[in-house]
């Protein structure tokens, strides 16, 4: 990132067509996601919830992607770390809290699914599951419909680096490539699949290298730079809209948290390694950029932190106090015809 840009020159984000308000909103979304995520970890440690899976460190990549898409218009198939992504496309922290508390009002699944398993028809966030990359063919299917119906809709599907080794990744990408479908595949490469490092998952230099085998471009981008991620995603989004087919984007990030609250990451990686990457945390980096551009100031920041703290607090209290589903709700919605 160019830290030397000053307010008088054209800023990087202006060059990308982003307003000050938009980049401030990007920052706010990253921070909101981070605060939610930290609270989730805390709630799990204090026994308030059973499980949390974190996206800490990946917020820039997610927000950079999300801002290239159109809320409540394009279709989204995010993966379980995509909190910043779903916040950016319209989900609220209250909704996320209801999900991690597994409460009846959770719009994702009414407390049926694990946290991080997003879904909201209202927001065009397509219901997701745990087995990784099943959403890749789904995204191709949704994009196929956009093409068949000549609708100006682009589909987003994300997944991890390890997950790009699943058969469904291959089959879904290939299908989208053959039919030149309007879809953007995003691999959030955070260097690990639970304990297994990148080098034991794949032998290619970059996950983006795989795109050539599907006949579309693959782009590797610094996932700690939200503007650069925005830029390449915007390009991919435009390619898709122009009918030129899919793009595979690899956002290079690092999973700062353990895999989930059930994981002890220091059993397979060093504190030094983690600390090194904490030092490259995208949030302070983007903050610095925004200060340098004059978009962020101490007073704006103080207000923002207070606002976010309020949101987190309200959402936590709300979700904590919200009712669980009724036990017999277990039996609902197996089929559309409930008489079965």
């Amino acid at each position: 990132m160019n830290h030397k840009s000053s307010a008088v020159e054209t800023t990087r984000h202006e060059q990308l067509g982003l307003t000050d308000a938009q980049v401030l909103e990007m920052y706010r979304t990253m921070l909101l996601s981070r605060r939610f995520d930290e609270r989730g970890l805390l709630l799990q440690r204090s026994g308030k919830i059973n499980f949390h899976v974190s996206g800490i460190g990946q917020e820039a990549a997610q927000v950079g992607s999300a801002f290239a898409f159109r809320k409540q218009h394009d279709y989204f198939l995010p993966y379980y770390r995509d909190y910043a992504f779903v916040l950016a496309v319209g989900m609220t922290v209250r909704e996320l809290m209801l999900s991690i508390f597994a409460k009846a009002e959770d719009p994702n699944s009414a407390g049926r699914q694990m946290p991080g398993h997003f879904g909201s028809k209202r927001l065009n966030i397509v219901t997701g599951s745990s087995p990784v990359t099943t959403q890749v063919p789904h995204a191709a299917g949704i994009a196929l419909v956009a093409k068949m119906k000549k609708q100006d809709i682009v589909t987003y599907a994300s997944f991890g680096d390890g997950s790009s080794n699943q058969g469904d990744f291959h089959e879904g990408c290939n299908f989208a490539g053959v039919h030149k479908l309007p879809v953007v595949f995003v691999c959030e490469n955070n260097q690990y699949a639970i304990s297994v490092p990148y080098s034991k998952q794949v032998a290619c230099e970059s996950i983006a290298d795989r795109a050539v085998g599907y006949g579309f471009p693959g782009v590797r981008v610094d996932g700690n730079d939200p503007l650069e991620v925005y830029r390449v995603t915007k390009e991919a989004h435009e390619r898709a809209r122009r009918g030129e087919g899919p793009t595979l984007i690899e956002t290079v990030t690092y999973r700062i948290s353990p895999h989930s609250t059930s994981d002890n990451d220091l059993a397979y990686r060093t504190k030094e390694e983690v600390d090194y990457h904490k030092g490259r945390d995208p949030i302070p980096r983007f903050r610095e950029y925004l200060y340098a551009c004059g978009v962020l100031s101490e007073s704006v920041e103080t207000d923002m932190e207070a606002e976010l703290a309020g949101i987190i607090k309200e959402a936590t209290t709300y979700a904590d106090q919200a009712p669980f589903p009724q036990p017999e709700d277990t039996l609902k919605y197996v089929y559309g015809d409930e008489s079965i």
């Binding site: 994702n108 049926r112 028809k121 299917g141 290939n174 919605y333 197996v334 089929y335 559309g336 079965i340």
Partner: protein, 327 residues
């Protein structure tokens, strides 16, 4: 009413639904230009264009997964698996995804897909072109499973499946394609999913079956009638959800029941039918619940004497029916 073959009934159902509803489309390997390896999709590409009779790459998990994605945004895809043996690469998409989309989203999302798969043997297909895979999917709530035996049911169930709000696995028996003909109405109709059908009435024994073996049972019943044995033959038609009422009613009528299917015995649909009966009607039974099914071997061999040994036929069925009647 017009008399047509089982395969033409399947083709006609697709043709009519593609005509009626612009959200219906067919996808699969060789379903377009070639019209399917068996000819089930013949003419569809010519009439409706390449996109609505879509030749896909050779990848079943993608075929199912793409169909699921399309269904979630309002389409009514019919995904063809070239042989039911080759749906196994798509198992995860079918069981983890299609079956669970409504439930996991608390009814926010739906998955109205049909997966058609030719199943069964007797065509010298060998291990991997003859299997009955219904037991793999039968234990998965969220799926519906149908397996018609006649052109009437084949067409009516396919129409019902396409219009259904949930994922339906549609197993069509390869051996029935051209060997079974029958009447179908000229006007629009459906065969409701979840309803069994009494294919023959009788008071001595009940035979509960589905698919190709329905015909063996009917043929055997005709011969046994000459011996004074009247068989009551229930065609399940839908395997999931089973028509419990129809099963119990048919057993009440005769007190003796033979369950018949081509799929291997252990863990087959017949086991559940038997379990339902002995849970609900134990004391109305006059004979042990009998099952006549495929042998418990991994799949049927291609060599003619072995295939013949594996497959059920009228004579084997008749023997089992007679034995039950004489019990």
């Amino acid at each position: 009413m017009t008399t047509i073959s089982y395969i033409d009934a399947i083709n006609a159902a697709m043709q009519e639904e593609l005509q009626r509803d612009e959200n219906v489309f067919v996808l699969g390997e060789d379903v377009g230009v070639k019209g399917g390896v068996f000819g089930t999709t013949k003419g569809l590409m010519e009439q409706f264009g390449e996109e609505r009779a879509l030749d896909t790459p050779l990848a079943e998990s993608a075929i199912a997964g793409v169909a699921i994605g399309a269904a979630m945004v309002g389409m009514r895809p019919i995904a063809e698996m070239q042989y039911s043996d080759f749906m196994l690469p798509a198992t995860n998409q079918i069981i983890s995804e299609a079956a669970k989309i409504r439930y996991r989203s608390n009814n926010d999302w739906q998955c109205p897909i049909v997966i058609r798969a030719p199943f069964g043997g007797g065509i010298f297909g060998g291990l991997y072109h003859s299997q009955c895979p219904e037991s793999i999917f039968f234990g998965t709530p969220g799926l519906k499973i149908v397996a018609p035996s006649t052109p009437y049911d084949a067409k009516g169930l396919l129409l019902a499946a396409i219009r259904d709000e949930d994922p339906v696995l549609y197993f069509e028996h390869k051996k029935c394609y051209r060997s079974v003909t029958g009447e179908v109405p000229d006007e629009d109709y459906i065969v409701p999913i979840g309803k069994a059908d009494v294919k023959r009435e009788g008071d001595d024994i009940t035979v509960i079956t589905y698919g190709l073996t329905v015909h063996f049972a009917l043929q055997a019943a005709e011969e046994l009638a000459k011996e004074g044995i009247e068989a009551h033959i229930v065609d399940l038609r839908t395997l999931q959800p089973l028509d419990k009422e129809a099963i119990l009613e048919s057993v009440r009528r005769t007190g003796k029941v033979l369950i018949l299917h081509e799929d291997n015995k252990t863990g087959g649909v017949g086991a559940e039918v038997s379990a339902i009966i002995s849970e609900e009607l134990l004391f109305e039974l006059d004979a042990p619940i009998a099952r006549l099914c495929g042998y418990d071997v991994p799949a049927m061999p291609i060599s003619p004497p072995l295939e013949k040994f594996y497959m059920l036929n009228k004579d084997k069925v008749m023997e089992a029916m007679r034995k039950l009647a004489l019990f």
